[in-house]
Structures are given as C-alpha cells and as structure tokens.
Amino acid sequence: MTRKSRRLLLISCALGVLGIAAGLVLFALSDTIVFFRSPSEIAAQHVSPGTRLRLGGLVKDGTVEKADGTHVRFVVTDGGADVPVAYIGILPDLFREGQGVVAEGVLQADGSFRADSVLAKHDEKYMPKEVVEALKKQGKWQEGEGGAPAPALLPGRTSSAN
C-alpha cells in the first residue's frame, strides 16, 4: 500500500468511528433527556402523564406526610401551582418544609408525581439554580446584593455569608 492509500484508509476508519459515535450520541440524546418543569408550567402546558420530568420548587409548608420510615408524601409549589409528590425512600438531609427541592420521576394520570429521586441542597446557603429561576418567574424571589442569588425564603441565613 502506498502512503496515500494508507492515509485514506486511516481517515476513513477515523470517520467511521466518529460517525458511529455521533450516531450513538444523537440517538441517546433524543431518547434520554429529561426536562425540568415547575408546577406552574405543568399546570399551564398540560404535560402528558407518563412523561419523565424533573420537578422543582419549594416544599409547601405543612404538607409533608411520612406514613412509615420510607413512604413520603409532600407538595411542591412555586406559588403559582401545586403538585403532590409521592416518594419511597430516605429523604436527603437538607429536605425541609419551605425549602427548595428537585424531584425526578414520572407524572401520573391523576396529576400527582411519583418521584424516584429527591434532591435537596448540599449546603444551607445554596439553592438549586433551576428552582431559583422557577421562583423568579412566579415573583417569589428577591435578588440579593452582590450578584449572588440570596435565598430570601430561607431562614437562618446571614447576609455576609456570600
């Protein structure tokens, strides 16, 4: 084989592999992405039941019910609309009423949400970005000084922290 034909073979192999990779990526992307929705968006857009979603907002005060150690029900709100959530498992440490939460799961036919994972914050100063934006849309968020979003809804936070 000449240098030229070898190079051609190499390049076509490379393109082949990259083509397969690109195909895999596109196929997986069309199939596996999960949209983030706030309760208001779910109410407004008539999301069809069975859709996999990430639901974000605040845990509504006084709605957390723990049947036993593992079955939990609570309501996620963004001020505009509410979505009842059912979850089986251990809640994260920073899961509290009135605080930000992101739940991933499937919307049921009766409008409730069956979550298979619940995420709260990793830090008491920190609120998931999507939740902040969803709350801003509903006018439930006050921008803090210094550019950093200040979780005005969180109790026990000192202003010098950020």
Binding site: V25, F35, G69, D123, E133
Partner: protein, 667 residues
C-alpha cells in the same frame, strides 16, 4: 501580618511570572543563552512565592484568624486541626490558590529536573507555563483574593460545609489538581514545540513522563472523589454523571489517549500532529473543567457561592488559551514533517483505534455535559442529560476499547499478525468465556449483560497477563529461563500489564455492583431486624453522642451472617451546630471485596428509625482497579528508559510537604 505577607507573596509571584513569560521566549528568539537561562531561576522563585502565599493561608486557618473573610466563612475554632488545614482549599478562593500552587511546583520541577532538555525548548516551555500562571494569578488577585480582611473581626467562624469535613478533602482535591494541572506541562511542551515549529521523537520522550504522572494522579484523584461521594452523600452511588465528574473524566479520556499516542510518536516517529493536538486538548479540557466547576454555571456538589464576574473571567482565560493554542496549531501543524508509515493491522493501528474511541468517548461526555447549557442559552429550555445517556454512549464506546486492549501489546510494530495474536490469546479468551458461562449459570435469572461484562473483564485481565507470559516464553522455555526473562522485562511492560489489568478489575467491580447489589429500605425499631444480601441486621441501640463541633444520633446494628456474629456497623445523623446543618454518616463494613452499607434516615413518629441498607458485592474493586491502573502508570514512569528527564517523585513530595509544614504555631 501573616495574611498581608501571603497577599504580598501573591503579587510578587505575579511579577515573577510576568518576567518568566517574556524573558525566556525573548532569549529563544534572539538566541541569547543568558536570557534563556533566567527561566529556570524564575520558575523556582515563582514556586517559592506561591508556596509562601499558600503557607500563609494555611497558617491563617490553623490560627482561626477570623479577621480574614475567607477563614471566617469557612472555618470554626472547634474544628479538629486536620479540617482546619483542609478548609484552606475547601472553598473557591483557597482551591484556586491550590491550583496555582500545583502549577508552580510542576514548573519548578521542569526547571530543576529538565537539565537534559534542549535550551530553547526548555525556555519556551517555562514561558508558556508562566503565561498560564499569570492568567490564574490575575484571576485570584482581581476576583478571588483569599486574604481579604474583615473588620471588626467576628469572634467565631461560620464553619466549613459539614459535607466537606472529611478526610476526603485532604486527599481528593490535591490529587485531582496534580492531574489537571499536570497536563499544563504537556500543554506547555506542545505549544513550545509549535512556537519553534519543530518536533521529533525525542519530544515525545520528554513529554511522556509528565503525561504519565498527570494521568496517574488524575486516575487516583477521580477514584478518590468517587469513593468520597459514595460514603459521604449516603446514597450508595459511586458515580452520578454529575457535570463536575464529567469535567474530570474528559481530560482523563484525552490524557489516556495522549499517553498511548506519545508511545507511537516516541517509537515510530508517527502521529506527531495528532499527539500535539491531544496534549493541547487534555489541558483545554482541564481548563474547561475548572471553568464548569468554578464559574457556577452548573448545579453541583462543587458549586460554592458564586459570582458572575468570576465566570466571565475564567471564560476569558479559557477562550484565550484554547483559542490561542488551537490557532497556533492550525498555523504550524502543516509545517511538521510526517513520520513513519504503518499497516492498519499493527500496534500503531491498535493504538490509533484506542485513540479514536477514547476521543469519541470524551466527545460524547462533552456533548452530554454542555448540551443542556447550550440549549438553555439558545431557547431557555431546561433539560437534564442524565445517567441513561452517558451509560449508553460511553458504555458502548468502551466495549471495543476493552475488547481490543489485550491485542494491542501483542501486535508487532509496523505490520502485525492478527491471526497469530488471536491464537496466543486463545487461552485467555477461552477462560473468559468459561467465566461468563459460570456467571450465567450461577446467577440464574440475573441481568443478561452481567455474564458478558464479567467475561470481558476476565479477558482483559488474563489478556494482559498473557502479554507478559508470551514475552517470557512461559511454557515454551525452561521455567528458570522464563523467570530470568520475566525479571529482565522493562518496568514499562509491567506498567502496561497493571494498567490494563486495572481496567479489568474496575470493570469487574462495576458489573458486580450494578448487577447484584441488594437494597433494603425499611423502618425498624430497637431490637428489630432486617436482611440485606446474605446479612441480617439487628438494630441494637440508638444513642446520642457529642463531637467537637457537632452532636449526633448513632444507630448501632449487629451484623449476622447465617447466625454467625460479624460485629457491628454504625450509621449516624450529625447536626453541625454552627451551621445548624444535618449530615448522614453512613456505616460501611467491608467483607471480602464487597461492602455492607447502612444509611440512617429520620426517626419515626411511632419510635424506631428509617434505614437504607445495601449489600454491594465486589464494589471495592472499582476503586482498587483505579489504584492498580495508577500504580501501573507510576511503574512505567520509573522505567529506566524514561527516568532520564522524568521528575523525581521523592523530591517533588518534599516540595509539596514544605507548604503546610511551615505555618507558625497557633497561639
């Protein structure tokens, strides 16, 4: 005074870095040997000033000097000493300083141990290295100064985020940064070679040790981060495809490709342009990782309080370095002479395939990580690209990588004999099939992919051993001769064997954990029990305890296996009083290579507690495999052939230790 000294040292370091960025290149341009010789001296001075600044920050933390804003926000006087020290980099400002410290130490190592480098190349390398330092020092001084004072000084600090109050913070970030920043050296070599427009096989020989060292550190750094998340976050997961994890995985893929393509360049003088491109890409992806983590564009465990100005600044650094180096590459790459030719079936060919698949994997991770950001910027839609995407794409791309892995080292350079190699791998392949069949029989109804995964892992491990056995002529020559040959093999051969076997070991752990883990989520009262896997857990007692800066409630479980007592495991809920923040400390007991993992939930209204218990068979192999891989890298680094021009780890370790050992004693 100490913080001001640190601040001053940072400014001095910036001045030194500016000189180091200009003088050596000027010397190389004008062929002025004296100017070129300034480079190493400046590099050492830079490392000295940065070490001083870092030591000052650690000293402020050790003394709990709350007049320093950074210390006030991230420390507490009641924290144990080790966490006071590690808090120094458990925040944005301090972690950037650690980043630059590592950069300085690497630069000094090039200056001190690169005595065999051609003078011009060394001068250019040090100058490029300094330009990275200048950019990041400006970033620290202008947007993230860790030495800002607070007046009046508060009496008590706000404590470190409890999740970070763990020995993991002492291990994971420094190792990861040694990996990330280590690729700055290979980047500097690539850019220096492009500036000169000249590159040869010797270049690859100088670059390979740095790439290997960075890769080994990155491998262990990622593995330790994974183990930390596994036991600290209490979810029992060891990899979440979190954007920040992806950010460390991308340079790992590129770096893995680089250490392989550099071999081809060194031995065969081929793939030159590609190797230079990979060296640029590996560091560009490290910079991208730094941007993703530090700019706050992503929601993740690693996002500290963020400031948009910082994000823009890092983005500018990113654009300047990636754009600049790729631009230079486009300009100069056509001038590089092409190297040796090879047949598609050859060791070079196998390494090219490895490179293609690894870069494709990096690209898949890149798309999955950045697509949500791009889409949100485009039309405001908020999406998540989750584990299913990454498992599918990376998983499928890794199958051929792993399958071809044993073939590579057995193939000859230039023109290989695939049939001969297949014949030599028959034994390994046969045993791997048997292992898969045994698993399929044993698990009866388990996941269909498990036998394939285990078979593949066994094939890689046995295949890498086959390579050594073949080289020694085991079974063909008398045992004594084979033994002598085995001992005579270069350490690099053992390095390859261990690194490849490490992949197989890691894969065994991954397959076993995902296929055969058992989980039990249940509420139980004192005296009650539950079973998970082969183990029976009984809740013996729930008791309150007190720590230095927290209170906790501990649940103690008795473990029995088939009635035999196996000791106890304790999980607890901690409340850190300064931040009023609870954390869960999972209880982990290792049996063989598997782990029993117990995570305590809330106390129940009717008494008792909710618990989540897992039995994870062979799970420790995931991290052990990574450690074996990195050890293979280190062994390869110590090969005689590479020791010339390679960094001397003992000396480097002494340098790194000097920083935290200096601070003045607490009052």
């Amino acid at each position: 005074m100490i913080p001001e000294t640190g601040h001053f040292a940072l400014v001095l370091a910036l001045a030194v870095a500016l000189l180091q960025m200009v003088l050596p290149v000027w010397g190389a341009r004008t062929n002025d040997a004296a100017l070129m010789r300034v480079g190493p001296a400046l590099a050492v001075a830079f490392a000295g000033f940065i070490s001083l600044a870092f030591a000052a920050l650690v000293a402020a933390y050790v003394q709990s000097d709350f007049s320093v804003l950074n210390v006030y926000q991230n420390s507490h006087s009641e924290m144990p000493l080790i966490y006071k020290i590690t808090s120094a980099w458990g925040n944005h400002e301090g972690s950037m300083l650690l980043w630059v410290l590592v950069l300085g130490l690497f630069g000094a190592m090039v200056a001190l141990f690169g005595s065999n480098l051609p003078q011009r190349l060394k001068a250019n390398v040090l100058a490029v290295q300094a330009s990275v330092a200048v950019a990041f020092l400006l970033f620290i001084l202008l947007t993230s100064n860790p030495f800002l004072r607070l007046s009046p000084a508060p009496a008590e600090g706000q404590d470190l985020n409890p999740v970070l109050q763990d020995i993991g913070l002492a291990i994971h970030p420094p190792l990861l940064y040694l990996g990330y920043v280590g690729f700055s050296i290979t980047f500097a070599f690539a850019v220096a070679a492009l500036i000169d427009g000249r590159i040869d096989a010797a270049w690859a020989r100088w670059v390979r040790p740095w790439a290997l060292a960075a890769w080994a550190f990155l491998t262990v750094g990622i593995a330790m981060g994974s183990y930390w998340a596994y036991y600290e976050l209490g979810w029992g997961g060891w990899w979440f495809w979190d954007p920040v994890e992806n950010a460390s995985l991308m340079p790992w893929f590129a770096g893995t490709a680089l250490i392989h393509s550099a071999v081809v360049m060194e031995k065969r003088d081929a793939l030159k342009v590609w190797t230079v491109l990979l060296a640029i890409l590996a560091f560009s992806l490290s910079l991208l990782g730094t941007f993703l983590v530090r700019s706050g564009v992503l929601t993740s465990v690693h996002a500290f309080a963020t400031d948009p100005a910082r994000g823009v600044f890092i983005l500018m650094i990113l654009v300047a370095f990636i754009g600049g180096s790729l631009g230079l590459f486009a300009l100069r790459a056509p001038m590089l002479r092409q190297g040796g030719i090879f047949a598609p079936v050859s060791r070079e060919g196998a390494l090219v395939l490895n490179n293609l698949l690894l870069t494709a994997s990096a690209a898949a991770v890149f798309v999955g990580t950045l697509y949500p950001l791009a889409l949100e910027a485009w039309n405001g839609a908020k999406i998540t690209v989750g584990p299913p995407y990454f498992n599918f794409t990376v998983g499928l791309l890794m199958v051929p990588v792993v399958f071809v892995m044993p073939f590579g080292p057995l193939l000859a350079w230039k023109r290989g004999d695939i049939a001969g190699v297949a014949q030599r791998l028959m034994a390994a392949f046969g045993l791997a099939i048997l292992a898969g069949l045994a698993v399929a029989y044993g698990q009866a109804g388990g996941p269909a992919l498990a036998p394939i995964g285990i078979g593949l892992a066994a094939f890689v491990i046995l295949g890498s051993v086959t390579d050594l056995a073949e080289r020694a002529g085991l079974g063909r020559v008398p045992a004594a001769t084979a033994w002598a040959r085995l001992r005579g093999l270069p350490r690099a051969a053992y390095g390859t064997m261990l690194a490849h076997a490490g992949i197989g070991i890691c894969l065994l752990g991954i397959v076993a954990e995902t296929s055969w883990s058992s989980e039990r989520i249940v509420g139980i009262k004192t005296g009650e029990g539950t079973t998970v896997g082969r183990y029976e857990l009984t809740l013996e007692r729930v008791e309150p305890r007190t720590g230095p800066n927290y209170r906790d409630v501990a649940a103690v479980f008795r473990i029995r296996e088939g009635g035999v007592d196996r000791g106890t495991v304790t999980s607890s809920k901690r409340l850190f009083t300064a931040r009023n923040m609870p954390t869960t400390e999972s209880g982990i007991r290792t049996f063989g290579f598997g782990q029993l993992y117990v995570s305590m939930g809330d106390e129940l209204a009717g008494g008792g507690i909710g618990i989540r218990a897992y039995w994870k068979p062979l799970v420790t192999l995931i991290w052990l495999g990574a450690v074996v891989m990195a050890f293979g890298g280190v062994l390869s680094l110590s090969d005689r052939r590479l020791r010339i021009g390679a960094p001397r780890p003992a000396r480097a370790r002494r340098n790194a230790d000097a920083a935290p050992a200096n601070p003045a004693p607490a009052e």
